[in-house]
């Protein structure tokens, strides 16, 4: 192989066809209310971890629902489970349950 002094960029697009959606559909089946997220972002706005790090609960679970599991487990582990997000969620999503569920499905529990 020849080294040309650069490497080929990896595609950034979410490719639904290439992603394995099994875990994602398991997650939405167990917690169907997660689908009702309207992306308002109040969870992240109130999140302690989200104010100290890049952690964005809404984004992580949305990516997970699209079958993008890479890094989701590590991200969810930034959550301290304090539950403020559950108190502010206008859609009544059991956010702490979602964190636990995603960790369980995608981590090494």
């Amino acid at each position: 192989m020849i080294n040309f002094g650069f490497s080929i960029s990896k595609p950034r697009a979410i490719d639904i066809d290439r992603n394995n959606l099994r875990k994602s559909s398991e997650i939405t089946r167990e917690m169907p209310e997660l689908q009702s997220c309207i992306g308002c972002g109040s969870c992240t706005a109130t999140c302690t971890a989200g104010n100290l790090t890049e952690f964005n609960f809404r984004k992580v679970h949305t990516l997970v629902r699209r079958g993008e599991y890479q890094g989701a487990y590590e991200e969810m582990n930034k959550c301290m489970l304090c539950g403020k997000c559950r108190l502010v969620c206008p859609r009544g999503i059991n956010t702490r349950g979602v964190v636990m569920l995603i960790k369980r499905k995608l981590g090494d529990f």
């Binding site: 040309f4 650069f6 490497s7 080929i8 960029s9």
Partner: protein, 361 residues
Amino acid sequence: MKRSSWTDYQKDIADDNYYYARSCIRQNFFPGSEKVFLDILSKDLGRDIYDDPLHTSCTGIGYHSDVVPLETIMTVVARQFALMSEAGYENFTSSCITSFGIYTELLATWEEFPELEERTRENLFKATGREFKVPKNLAHTSDVMFHHREEIARKAKRKLVNVYTGEPLKVVEHIGCHYAKIFPKKGIGGSEFPYVLAGMVESWGGEIVDYPERRHCCGFGFRNYLVQANRGYSIANSQRKLESMAPYKPDFIVCNCPGCSMFLDKWQYTLAEMEGTTYGQNGAGIPVLTYEEMAGLVLGYDPWELGMQMHQVDVEPLLDKMGVEYDPSAKYLGGDGKYIGRPESAIVNSCSQEVLYKMKK
């Protein structure tokens, strides 16, 4: 072709008396193509086309790379138009898609902002003492070829057909971004479903492949290629297209943009050398043709006269399929008949998939 929407996007293309503007990339990497275009127009079709030794680069690459300012390029373009007027022509045709985009963009700019045209006239006059008239008709050379496609079809020596199976050849057409994506009305078929190359292919017996990444850029992107560190981004775009078209098993790719022809051809070599992947059948690359070469083959020109030995991906498998007779030993002979040397073997041309697989392991 199923879609007929291209008919909504028609443009006027002059039938004769063209002023020809060359392309920097094409004349360097595919010099045979420009020559054959002039030959086809003048000899096969009997049209008047003027290849003016005075004209220059349009400086579009510099412009898109932010090194040539707008005023400068406007003046350069004005000079080309002045040369055209001086030579007594009104129909401007450019070999380069970037240039075509530049001319189209500047004509539109001048129309919207007449004061800019005025200033350009002043600048041109101060710098060169010349004056210009905007062309009556502006077309890309592929538009011109499209315009004459039926006449070429009538004069064709062979068709875009696999001589062994009798099936039409499967052709991937790739349109340069600046052809119609900026001004959809200025391209035949518009920006979504351009018909300029598809029309030629269909008239000459081939079959167009419509694949998911058809609209995607070849990856040249000026700055993205010119800076070495960014080339990974450039090549990733070509790779995305090649991956998307490969399942359709195309016999060749045809482009109307010199940059695209070059990148789709040469990045195949690079991808093969970097990752061991090739996209054509039988483990080789997919040959990439300019539309001039495609027309030349149809009209019976000798492939080496068309300059097809300059390609990174060997075209011989395609020539065989089309039943083109050629002298394999003449491939690397110069115009004077002297041996000009041959490149080293490359994965994109010599290895079968099986070998690659082992190499990767």
